[in-house]
Each structure stands twice: as structure tokens, then as C-alpha cells.
């Protein structure tokens, strides 16, 4: 491996969280390894793990890079109690997270309006798990708290960035505009032949 690839490997190994691409770029600039760029060094490291039989792999996530164990060893690691998979989120928590991911910054009332269920307890636990954070206050009555997703959300859902989520128009039913739709717009959607709900 080139000196820069080895340096990056050491840096990524030392960190418990994804190392932001900017931080790696600064390291690369200081290392002054004439022959390799950051991109080439990262590619080299990834290929090294992939092709030479390693138990770990290089993953691009949450605007940075991270070394993770390969899924085939997860069970053995967990059985040996060296690490434990995080708990799965409930359907209600995932729904709330999905709404926040698409509509951020978004207030509690709007989330509750979409889900038809109170969201207070779920917002609190998502916040405690570091998946969402308060990003500001809205304009409306009582200046409601507005929520947004955190980098940790991207990390825990293996997303490089938010744009990696399916775009609204890629969903079976296009995500409506934030303003309330009129009955006519519902009719239009039907006329356009947008996929009706699957009956599965």
C-alpha cells in the first residue's frame, strides 16, 4: 500500500465514528504523498480489504469513511459477547424518523398530523438515541420546536447523505407538496395513472 493509504487506515482504525471526508483531506494534504490523492488512497484501501481477504471493509457513510466488520462475522462476534447489535426501532419510531428525514425541519404537530398519533414519547426516545435533534423553532403559535435528523442517523441507517433516500418521485405515490392537497389534486393523481396501492 502507498504511505497515504496506510496513514488513512490508521486514522480510520483509531476512530469509533466515521471520519469526515474533510478531516481525511486535511490529513492527506499534510502527509504530502506526491503519488496518491485522497480518492486513490481510499480506493486502494478498499480494494485491499476486498481483494486480499480481510474481516473488515471500508464503508462510505454519513459524509465520511469508516472501517466496519463484515456481516458474516456478526453472529460469532455477538455470541462471544464482544459487541451487540443495537436494538431495532419500533414501527412507530421508524415512521416518525421517516417523516422527519423528508420534512425536516418539522414540528411535532405536523408529525402527529401525518401519523394520526401522538409523537411526544417517540420524539424523546429518538432524541435520546441521537437520531434526531432540535434544529430550531417554528414561526407558528407557541414557536414550536423543530426537529431534524443527525449525522448519527445517517450512520445508523448506512446512508452516505440524505439524498440517498429515495426521492419523493421515486416512491410509488409521489410525496405531496407540504401544503394541504385539495380534492382536485387527489383526482389528478388518479388521472395520471399513478400506481394505486398494491393489494398485497
Amino acid at each position: 500500500m502507498t504511505p497515504l493509504a496506510k496513514l488513512l487506515e490508521a486514522a480510520l482504525f483509531a476512530s469509533a465514528v466515521p471520519v469526515p471526508a474533510d478531516a481525511l483531506r486535511v490529513m492527506a494534504a499534510h502527509a504530502d504523498d506526491g503519488e496518491s490523492t485522497l480518492e486513490s488512497a481510499l480506493a486502494e484501501l478498499r480494494d485491499h480489504y476486498d481483494n486480499e481477504g480481510h474481516g473488515v471493509e471500508l464503508i462510505e457513510v454519513a459524509g465520511g469513511w469508516q472501517i466496519l466488520t463484515r456481516p458474516e462475522y456478526t453472529e460469532a462476534i455477538e455470541r462471544a459477547q464482544l459487541a451487540a447489535r443495537p436494538q431495532r426501532l419500533s414501527a412507530a419510531a421508524l415512521e416518525t424518523l421517516a417523516i422527519i428525514a423528508y420534512r425536516q425541519p418539522i414540528g411535532r404537530a405536523e408529525i402527529e398530523e401525518i401519523r394520526g398519533v401522538g409523537a411526544g414519547a417517540i420524539l424523546k426516545s429518538l432524541n435520546e438515541r441521537g437520531l434526531i435533534d432540535i434544529t430550531g423553532r417554528g414561526e407558528g403559535l407557541g414557536r414550536p420546536l423543530l426537529y431534524g435528523t443527525t449525522p448519527s442517523f445517517l450512520e445508523q441507517f448506512a446512508l452516505r447523505h440524505l439524498e440517498e433516500l429515495p426521492r419523493a418521485d421515486e416512491l410509488a405515490i409521489a410525496l405531496r407538496a407540504p401544503r394541504p392537497a385539495t380534492p382536485t389534486s387527489v383526482a389528478t393523481t388518479k388521472d395520471n395513472g399513478e400506481a394505486p396501492p398494491r393489494a398485497d
Binding site: 414501527a91 412507530a92 445508523q156
Partner: protein, 255 residues
């Protein structure tokens, strides 16, 4: 004996926990009324744009009663909404009216929107499974070394001066205390009456004691006004800002 006592406790224990915690209904099966509604629509293979509201409302009500969810406000709210839409559907449409606002439109919009959310949830679920199957290097924060508690080596003056420092820090600046004190108008009326019993005329300064507290002054003033209203005395002020004179009202006495 133990048995009997034990039988008594569980019920009271349940009541306590129920009261202390917020009542949250979350079924493993459904994450909310919209979820339940969507599953009914799916089970019945119904066109979401043409929901037979009467049938769905009936099934919805049946489901929430078998699920023992009657008390869950979110589900009840949806049930009420369905019944209202059902009623609106029964209203006769006026002849020649080309635009008909389908009372189901808002519900359809919400269901479609919710279905999108479910779709994104599937994506998130897949992604999260992918990530859960991999471990990052675990970083364990070094535990903070707590000082070992040993016998305290300190002299009494040192300890006292330490206490003094803490107290001085803890003491909040004393700004002002507001002591609520009710006015004693009845008492003041008694004073004025007693004075007028022996004197027909009096001055303000005769009534108000020297170094009177504001509440006493106010009580006396109110007492004088009250007695003047009752006709027991007359108040007279010879010129502006002069001390007023108090005269026993002989006319009322005569009456």
C-alpha cells in the same frame, strides 16, 4: 395469612403503576389508526380512491372494540372521523351541482401520505438491518478515576472556614421581602368611632398615630370614607392639600 395479604397487593400495585406512567397505546400489530385503516383496506382489496365508507367504518369500530382500544383517543378520533364521513356521504347531492366535494378526499390524501411514510420505513428498515450486521471499532471511553475515599485530614478551623466560604457563596443577595398584610378597616372604624364618641371634631392627625405604617394609614382612610358613607361623620377639607377635619354628623345621631 401471607397468602391473603399477597392476594390483596397486586391490584393496588397495578393501579399505582398505571397512574404514575403516561398511558401509551402501541400495539405490535398497528402503529396507529391510519395503519389499521390501511390494513383493512388492503385485506378487503378496496380501491383507495373509492372507499366504501360505511363498510370500513363498521369494520374499524369492530376492530378497535375487539382490540380493547376503546380508550385510545387516537383510534377513537379516527372512528369519529369515519362515522362523520359516512354521514356526509348520505347527504343528498343537489341536482345540477357539477362540483361535488368528496367528503373522503381528505382521508384519501392522508392515507396516501401515510402509505408513502410506510414505504420510506421499508427502505429505512432495510438500511438499518444492513448496518446492524456490521460492527464499528468499539471505542470505550476511559472510566474516570474516582478518588478513593479516605479519612478526612482537616483541622476544625479549616473546616469552619470552608463552611463559611460555601455559605457565603450560597447566600443570595437580600433585595426585598413583600409581606402581605391585610388592611384592618374594621379595627380602624372602631378607633374612629371611639374618638368621635368623646369628641365632636377631630383632625386627620388626631386619628393617625405618629409613625403609622402605610397599612394603618390606608385602613384609617378607608374607615373614614366608610363612616362618611354610612353618615356617621362628615369630612371637610378647607382648601386643597390641607389636612381634613372630621366632624361627628349630629343629624344622623338625631335620626
Amino acid at each position: 395469612m401471607d397468602d391473603v395479604r399477597f392476594r390483596g397487593t397486586p391490584s393496588s400495585g397495578v393501579v399505582e403503576t398505571a397512574a404514575s406512567e403516561v398511558f401509551v397505546v402501541e400495539l405490535a400489530e398497528f402503529s396507529g389508526p391510519l395503519d389499521l385503516l390501511l390494513s383493512l383496506i388492503r385485506d378487503e382489496q378496496i380501491d383507495i380512491y373509492d372507499i366504501p365508507i360505511a363498510r370500513i367504518a363498521e369494520q374499524f369500530l369492530a376492530r378497535i372494540s375487539t382490540l380493547k382500544l376503546d380508550e385510545a383517543a387516537d383510534y377513537l378520533e379516527m372512528a369519529a372521523r369515519l362515522v362523520r364521513i359516512k354521514a356526509q356521504m348520505l347527504l343528498p347531492r343537489r341536482e345540477g351541482e357539477d362540483v361535488w366535494d368528496d367528503p373522503r378526499a381528505e382521508l384519501v390524501r392522508r392515507l396516501l401520505e401515510y402509505q408513502q411514510v410506510r414505504e420510506v420505513v421499508n427502505v429505512l428498515e432495510r438500511r438499518s438491518e444492513e448496518r446492524r450486521g456490521r460492527f464499528a471499532r468499539a471505542y470505550t471511553q476511559q472510566a474516570v478515576q474516582l478518588p478513593v475515599a479516605g479519612p478526612l485530614r482537616i483541622s476544625l478551623p479549616e473546616l469552619l472556614s470552608a463552611v463559611d466560604r460555601v455559605l457565603r457563596l450560597a447566600k443570595k443577595p437580600h433585595i426585598h421581602d413583600v409581606i402581605p398584610r391585610a388592611l384592618d378597616v374594621d379595627g380602624a372604624i372602631g378607633i374612629v368611632r371611639a374618638l368621635l364618641a368623646i369628641r365632636a371634631h377631630a383632625h386627620w392627625k388626631d386619628v393617625v398615630p405618629k409613625k403609622a405604617e402605610p397599612w394603618e394609614v390606608l385602613s384609617l382612610l378607608l374607615a373614614l370614607l366608610e363612616l362618611a358613607k354610612l353618615g356617621e361623620l362628615r369630612l371637610l377639607q378647607p382648601r386643597p392639600f390641607a389636612a381634613f377635619e372630621i366632624n361627628r354628623d349630629s343629624s344622623s345621631e338625631a335620626a
